[in-house]
Each structure stands twice: as C-alpha cells, then as structure tokens.
Amino acid sequence: MKTKILAFIVLFVATISSNAQIDRSTIPKAGPDPVIKLGVPVKFNMSNGLKVILVENHKLPRVSANLSIDNTPYFEGEIAGVSGMMGSLLGRGTANITKDEFNEKVDFLGANISFYSAGGFASSLEKYFPEILSLMADGIKNATFTQEEFDKEVQLSLDGLKSNEKSVTSVARRVENVLTYGRNHPFGEFTSKESVKKITLADVENNYNTYLKPNNAILVVEGDIDIKETKKLVKSLFADWKAGEIPSYTMPEITTIATAEIDFINMDNAVQSEIAIINTVDITLGDADYYAALLANKILGGGGTARLFMNLREDKGYTYGSYSSLSQSKYVGTFRASASVRNMVTDSSVVELQKEINKIRYQTVSAEELENAKESYIGSFVMDVQKPRTVANFALNIERYNLPANFYESYIQKIKAVTLEEVQNAAITYFTSDKARIIITGKGIDVLANLEKTDYVINYFDVEGNPTQKPAMTLPIPEGMTASSIVDKYIAAIGGKDKVMAVKTTIMTANATIQGTPLVMTMKAAAPNKTSQEISVMGNSMQKTVFNGSIGYTNARGQKKDMTEAQVNEAKSGNAIFNDLEYSSGELLRIEPLEGKNAIVLKFNDTEVYYDMTSGLKVKEVKTEKTPDGQEVKIPTVFSNYKEVDGVKFPYSIGIKSGPMNLDFVVKEIKVNEGVSDADFE
C-alpha cells in the first residue's frame, strides 16, 4: 500500500515538473551531434578491367549487386535507341539457358534481375544470392539475340513510344534535350518511330559486342555477405568476361545562345505549361566551387524551403512545386529551373522564375539562408552516411570521378567552409538567366498572347524539336453549333425563355468614375424597343439618349440632336431589353480564349459578341463604329459578375473601353417590371 502511494506521488511530481519545463514558444535545443561512422568498403580490381566494391551489412538477410558500365556516351545517329534495345534484350536467353528458364528461376527464388544498356541490377535473399549473381553474370557475358525476340521488342518499343505521344511532360523533356544539347549530341538525340524501324538485329548484336565489356565496368555488391566468399564468387563468375576495344568518341561542342529566348512547343491537350529555364554548365563532382554551386542551387530552388518554391507556390499559388537543379557531369552538365503551372499564369511564372535567378546572381544571399542551406546538406549527409547504399554510392563516385579516397570524410568541412561571396560567384557562373533557353511546352492558344507581351523572342518547335510555325490561335467551330443554338444557350443560362419573356421593363443604375469624377448611368427600357440612357455627374445630366419606339434624340450638355433615319431604323428593329434575341440570325466566326476560358464569337451587323462556351453567358461585345473622319474604331464592352433579379441574371459589372478611356461600371440596382412608364421615353 505504502509503495503504491509513493509511486503515485513520484509519478505526480514527475508529471508536474516535466510539464513545467517545456516552453512551447521557443524551438527546442538539439542534443549533442551524433557521431558519424563512415562505412568502409572493400575494393579490388580484376585483370579484365572490372572494378569491384563490396559493402558488408548484416542488418537484413539480403544482398544486391549493381553493375554499371561507365563508357563514354556515344552518338547513335539514325539508329538512335539501339543501345536501349540491346539492354531490353539482355536476359532473354544466353548460350547456357533459355529465356523461359531464366525468368522462371529468378521469379521462383523471389528475386529480381534487370538489365539495361550499360549494366544490370540483381537482388535476392542472401541464401539465393550466389545463384542469382551467376544468372546475372551469364546474362551479361553470354547473351544471345534472336530474330523473334528482336521483332517483339521493336513492336513493344513502337507501342511504348505511341503510348507517350500525347504526354506533355515526356514531350517537354525530349525537346528540352534536343534544344539544350543539339540533335547531333548523345544527350540530345532520342529514340523515334523512324529510328526504331531502322534498327536491325545485327545492329543490336554489334552494339553488344562492342560496348558491353568489362573495361570500364564497376560492380558493387552490398548486403549480408562474407567478404572472402563473395570475392571468390565474383572472381569465379566474372574472370572470363573478356575485355574489348571500345571505340573512342569525342562529343560535339554545345552551341549556346547569346540572348535568352522562349522556345515554345505547342500541345493542344496541355492543362499546364511545362516551363524549364535551362543552360549547360561545366561542373564536375569535386571541382573547387562545386560546394558553393550546390548551396547556391539549394537556396534558389533546392526543395520546399527554397526561393522558387516559396515564391511560385507558397506566395503565388501558381504551381504544386517549382525547383531548380544543377547536374554535374564529366561531359556536360545543366542548370535547370522549372515549374509546371496552369496555363493562365505561364507568362507570370516565367517572369518570377527569371526574377529569382537574377536575384541570386546580383544580390548576396543572407547569412541565415546560407547557414540553413548548409545545415540541410549536413543533416542529409549525417542521416544517409551509414546506410549501406550510401557507402556503396560514395565508393562508386570515388572510382568514377577519380576522387581522393578521403573525399567524403572532408565533405562536411567543405560545405561548412563556403562563403557568401563564393555562393554568389557560383550563381553568376552557372545560372545564366540572360543567356538561357526558356523552354515552354503548353497550349499555345491559351498562353501565347501573354507570352508575346514579354521581352523575349519566341521560337516555335514541334514535338520532336524541329523548328515550326506559330500555332493557330483560334479553334474550329464544332459541328452542329449555330448562332441560334448559342443564343438559346445564353437565354437558358440567364433564366430560361419564360422568365426572359416576362421581363417587360427594366431600370438599371450604375456607378463609375472617370478621372476621379463619379458618374451615374441610368438606363431604362420597355418592350419591345423603347430605351432611355442618361449619364449624369453630381446630379447634372451630361448626356441623355431616348427612343420612344418611333422617334428619338440625344441631348448632350443642353444640345439636342434628333436621331437620323438610319439610327431610328436600327433602334426600331432592336429588342430594348435583351438585344441578344435577334442575334440568332448572326454568324459564328471562331472560338477564342478569353481570360483562360474559351468563348464563341458571333457576328451581328457591326458587333462581335462573345459567349462563354461553358457557362453560356455573354462575356464581351465589340462594336465597330465609324468616327466622323471615317476611321473605324472598336469599342469593347465586357460583362461579368452575373446576379439574379426576379429569376433573370444580369451582369453587375460592365466595363467599356473607348479609346484611351476605361469606364468600369458597377451596377447599384436593377428593377424589373416596376417604375417605368411611357413618360420616361419622351
């Protein structure tokens, strides 16, 4: 009993004191830095050139093997895709085993083996690993290629290409590569229907016999292994893999551009624009300014705290994510800032992306930003460094890039040493906003009008990266759509024919300001064609136009002018309340995008009327009038903010543009079937 009470008190006290300790308003302090233990791999080289890296880790009873053949990239030309095809055909039978037996063995052991043009990957439970590695080695060393499998792969490649033909993202990536590296460059060429059809079985065999060699190959084995046993296993499986003569290849120079430009690829099905601002860079892992460049990119666009993300997503809501990347390469690397954005904000996104790139070039980043970026890198390093895959990757990089053996031991130190000036210098060197390509893949009809307002020259390319013409900016009118179907849809959208026909009179008052002076517009109408429109300032009538069904006049500042016969005829034939009713006899011109939505344009006499294709509502009218000196002017009126009065929708915002003047009327009140008499039209 006593101990129970005591325990209760202890517990109680403990709760009190611990609750008292925490202060939610400050960020908790970190504990002491964790101690990092860098894993040490075992390495050895074989006489055929194969380098082997072994990483021992007994956490799980599994092993993986990763073979990568690090040949210099080469140009495939008119048979582009041949190496990919060869890679796909590996594992479909060897001199020792049929394809079906091979697949059955791998699957039966619950294992995975995959091949690609420059290597392969295998993983399994530890107990099956020797068998799995031997199957992988056999697949690499003794591959056989048959016409049947080759034909099958050709068909699959063609269908695979077709299945991605309309994918906006895959078209965007393809053309980006063509434009960035050039069509005659290994990184710029791509597999096409035409190139696949040119590839022969002999080409595939030739590719295999030439390039799938141990000369530049690295094999990493990682997992629950015994080093001695595994060494023996690898040697027994790969010693008879014969080295070959790999042709030398010099990559063509990259052509850069002198002034930033927009390269536009039109895709009608795009609901987002893929924007990528790209320039090539010459930076390799281990370069003196490599760390500064990494940090500059981290601050600009390296994740959810970077400037691009904070600006384009968190502040503007243009995109789900905007990022930048700096890819190092022994051959040619790239800087790429990108976002997938909705069509309407494509131009604004380009502006913001460029603004951020310029900002990091021309202004030193803050000390806090740099500190945060460093901590982020160091944190990831600390967390990853003990994973066996990381140990293996580090060892692989040291081999590939000829780095000093202690390269990763000094990694944290090198990151910490980067200064603010070094970050800015790296940004200036590697992010060339003024000489970059702004590659946009999107729906031209939605986005080009605004892109043309930017300062950039726009070049057009097709989905394979060939220069082409600007796409058509209007859409064809669907079959069966007529002027009267559009007008019917409009009438239905504002309330339906019965309700519309029941409107006999209307009064509308609306306010606007012109150069700071408030205007009041009062419009009255009575069926079928009586109208009165008055604009007044501070209670004084400035202009009044009246038509009583047979005659009319305009009174402007006391000067009265009767309507001409032509004006009378026009007024007579119109419908005073809903002039759209007579547009049924008009003509449909085109479909064009307006504020991100498609509008159908109907022409009636000298007026073009725009109806929203989705809602059916009238969104704009453009009237062409002749000035006294005979010139034609277009006067657009835009309608929005529809609200219901007595079951009929009226626009409550009306914008009129006449020459340099903008009049934005906000409707104060609309009355239906009340307060209008014939006296109003005298």
Binding site: T26, A30, P61, Q272, G304, E314, Y318, G379
Partner: protein
C-alpha cells in the same frame, strides 16, 4: 521419414530468419487517448517522428471531395509558435526532411531528423495538433496549389484517371466512390468554417497515433512525449459509419476518356473485401501469380508469347472498408480490347477450376518472403508500417506477423477466393479510351 526431417529443418531455418529481423516496438496510450508507438533502431543516427490521423477522403461530407487532402496542405501553414511559411524552413535548416500524404482512409505526417533533433520533431508535431493556425489566406493559396497538384498528377498525365472511373462505378454509396484529390468545384466551395470544423472533429489526440522510431533513448523519449503531447485536450469521440454496398450481380460496362493517351486500355474491376481480411491477402497472392515477374501468367501469355499486350497485370487496391481488384491490359498493335479480356478470363477460369501447381505455390511463398525482408529495410518505412498496422488494422504486431498469414494461405484457398470474387457478373468492364477531339 527422411523427407519430413528435411522439412522441419527448413522450417527452422525460416523461423531463424524472421527472428533476425523482428521489429521490436513498445506501444501505449496517453491519458488523452493518443496512441504512442516507439521503435529503437541504432543502425543510423536518424529519428523519425510521425503522426497518423484516422481521417481520410472517405470521412468527407458529400459535395466536399478533396477536403481531407486539402486540409493536409493547410496543416503546414503554421501554428501558434511556428510562423506562416516557417515550417519547411525549420525542418530543412535542422538537416531534416518532412512530408505528408493522404489516402481515402488516413492522413500521415512525418519528419526525419538527425537523431539529436528528436525533441524538435515532437515539438513540431504537437504544435500542429494543439494549435494550428488556419486562415483564409492559407485557404486561398493552398486552393491554387492543390489545383496545380491535380493538374500535374492527374489532368496532364497519361493513364492517370482510370482509378477515378473505376471507383465511381464500383462504389455506389460508400465514399470510396470519390477520389482523394477531389473535384475542383468542391475545393472552391469549401469555406474556412468547414476547415475549422474538420480540424476540431478529426485532429484530436484520441484520433491520432504517434510513432517515434530510430536511434532514440526510450526512457527520455517517453518523458518528452508526455511533455509535448500529454497536455493536449482529448476531443469528442468520433463515430464512423459508412454505408454498405449491395453486392454486384451483373456486369457493368463503362467508358472513360483521357486526352493524354493514344493507346487505349481495358480494365476488369471487382469489389473485394477489406484489406484486413484473409481473403484480401489471398488476392495479393493472386496478383503476384498473375503479374509479378516475367514468368507470371499474364505477362508471359499476353506480352511475351501471344504479343497481344504491351502491358498486362493485376492490382489489388485494398482499403480499410473494401478493396478494388483490377485486371488490366494495354493492347499491342491491332489487338481488340475484348480479346484481351477473353484471354485474361481464360486464366481466371483455370484458377477457379484447378489448383495452381506446387511449384507456382512455392514461387509465391518465396516472393512474399522476399517482400517481407525488404519491407522493413528503412526506418521511415518501419515507422509508416507501425502506424498503418495500428490505425487501419488495429494490430501493430502485424508488422511481424502478417507474413504468417501469407505463409498459411493454401492452394485451395487461392482457388476458393478466385471463385468467390473474380466472376464476370461481379465486375465492371471499363474501356479507357483516347478522348475524341
């Protein structure tokens, strides 16, 4: 006699393996009802703090699809002590990573930090639960962001809508009929008040499971957890009752269109029981039998031998209340969609009338053994599984014992399940077609 000794030996061998990688954990409830799961793993200096809330798209009100996922975005906007826009910065400047995701059944938030930042992770998650700041400006921005997410992941991607078409046909009453991302119009209609009400109802400790996994000291972690989460008040009990579906008794036919594709696809979709049932696990095995690996039945027949499909397979999309089992194919060359279904049906028919071979059965066992070893390879993955098994299955220890369920499945059960669920009159045939221009 000799043979049976051998079997015994190999059984012991298997048992040895499963012990070697057993995931040790402790679990308990705080007074406010929050469930806590702790797992110590010193392999790397890393700690995961994560919270799974038992709320997902299926808990949304009608006409408010996408609410749960939208709300997940709002919970990064800031808290009483973490300013707007500071969340991500706080994580990254402390060397960590974080994210969240929403499904029809649950919402999951997590941070991964170097192990000396455990307290920071706990503070952040407790702030998120105790007093998030949810304002109109956040709603407005995230509304646009979520719409961009939908455009990016769904509207602009080929073959991304099939699940939407399948679900709206397979489910008539249950909220699984909608998609997690939701409809744009519903997102627009959601008001600030609705989000606040959603928070009050679902984001309470008694609806939450906290997992702390990694290089931790268990005793001090427990004290910190009590400090940060203990004072958070319990919320009202959450009643969950979802409408039951009537069985499907006649084939349904539907068409779905996608402007981003050239090659059509055909799908046969069946409504199946909850992922908690043994039958659902049997269906996992049937999926593997049909489509895992190049020697699997559908790949070998349709892609490799007959060259009728560029891709064919089976997906067991199992969820808390029901599952959706989907067989699909993309035709190669001139192959007709109907013919693909005929070929697939033929294989299902064989499974229903004959036992799969001993060798195929052993292959399945080996594949599931391999999956099991790989499933707990990262501490992030372990944390997620611990939370999922507790929240959705009600048994955290399934992380260790689910493999026993798979091991216990017999060839006869595989046949019986194929017979019970995979019949033509119990399914939807969806033709997934390029949108006509």
């Amino acid at each position: 006699m000799k043979k049976s000794i051998l079997t015994l030996a190999s059984a012991l061998f298997v048992a040895f393996y499963s012990n070697a990688q057993k995931v040790d954990f402790q679990e308990y409830d705080l007074d406010n009802g929050m469930h806590v799961i702790l797992h110590k793993d010193t392999a790397a200096p890393v700690v995961v703090t994560s919270v799974m809330y038992h709320v997902g798209a299926k808990d949304e009100q009608p006409g408010r699809t996408g609410m749960a996922h939208f709300f997940e975005h709002l919970l990064f906007e800031g808290t009483k002590n973490i300013g707007k826009g500071e969340w991500f910065k706080l994580v990254s400047s402390n060397g960590g990573k974080n994210n969240a995701n929403t499904t029809d059944d649950r919402t999951y938030y997590y941070e991964i930090f170097p192990s000396n930042k455990l307290e920071l992770g706990l503070w952040m998650e407790s702030e998120r639960l105790l007093h998030p700041i949810i304002g109109q400006d956040g709603v407005d921005t995230q509304n646009e962001v979520v719409k961009e997410e939908k455009r990016l992941r769904v509207d602009n991607q080929p073959y991304s809508r099939f699940l939407e078409f399948v679900k709206e046909n397979i489910f008539k009453k249950h909220p699984y009929k909608g998609t997690t991302i939701g409809k744009m119009a519903d997102l627009d209609a959601a008001t600030l008040e609705e989000f606040l009400a959603f928070n009050k109802k679902f984001y309470v400790p008694n609806n939450a499971t906290l997992v702390v996994a990694g290089d931790i000291d268990i005793a001090s972690a427990k004290i910190m957890i009590e400090d940060y989460f203990g004072p958070i008040p319990r919320g009202a009990e959450i009643e969950k009752s979802f409408p039951q579906e009537e069985p499907i008794t006649e084939t349904m036919n539907a068409k779905g269109y996608d402007p981003n594709i050239q090659i059509p696809a055909i799908m046969a979709a069946y409504r199946t029981p909850s992922m908690k049932t043994k039958d659902s696990r049997v269906l996992d095995m049937i999926s593997s039998y049909l489509s895992t690996g190049k020697s699997s039945v559908l790949y070998k027949k349709l892609v490799d031998t007959k060259k009728m499909a560029i891709q064919a397979g089976a997906i067991n999309a199992s969820q808390e209340d029901y599952g959706t089992y989907i067989l699909y194919g993309l035709p190669q060359g001139e192959t007709k969609l109907d013919d693909l279904i005929k070929e697939i049906d033929e294989e299902i028919g064989i499974m229903q009338t004959e036992l799969i071979s001993e060798r195929s059965y052993q292959k399945l066992q080996n594949q599931f053994e391999n999956n099991y070893v790989n499933s707990n390879s990262s501490v992030e993955g372990v944390a997620n599984s611990l939370a999922r098994y507790h929240v959705l299955y009600g048994d955290t220890n399934l992380i260790n014992s689910e493999i026993d369920i798979y091991r216990s499945i017999t060839r006869e059960e595989i046949q019986a399940v194929a017979k019970k669920y995979l019949n033509p009159n119990q399914r939807l045939i969806l033709e997934y077609l390029p949108e006509k221009k």
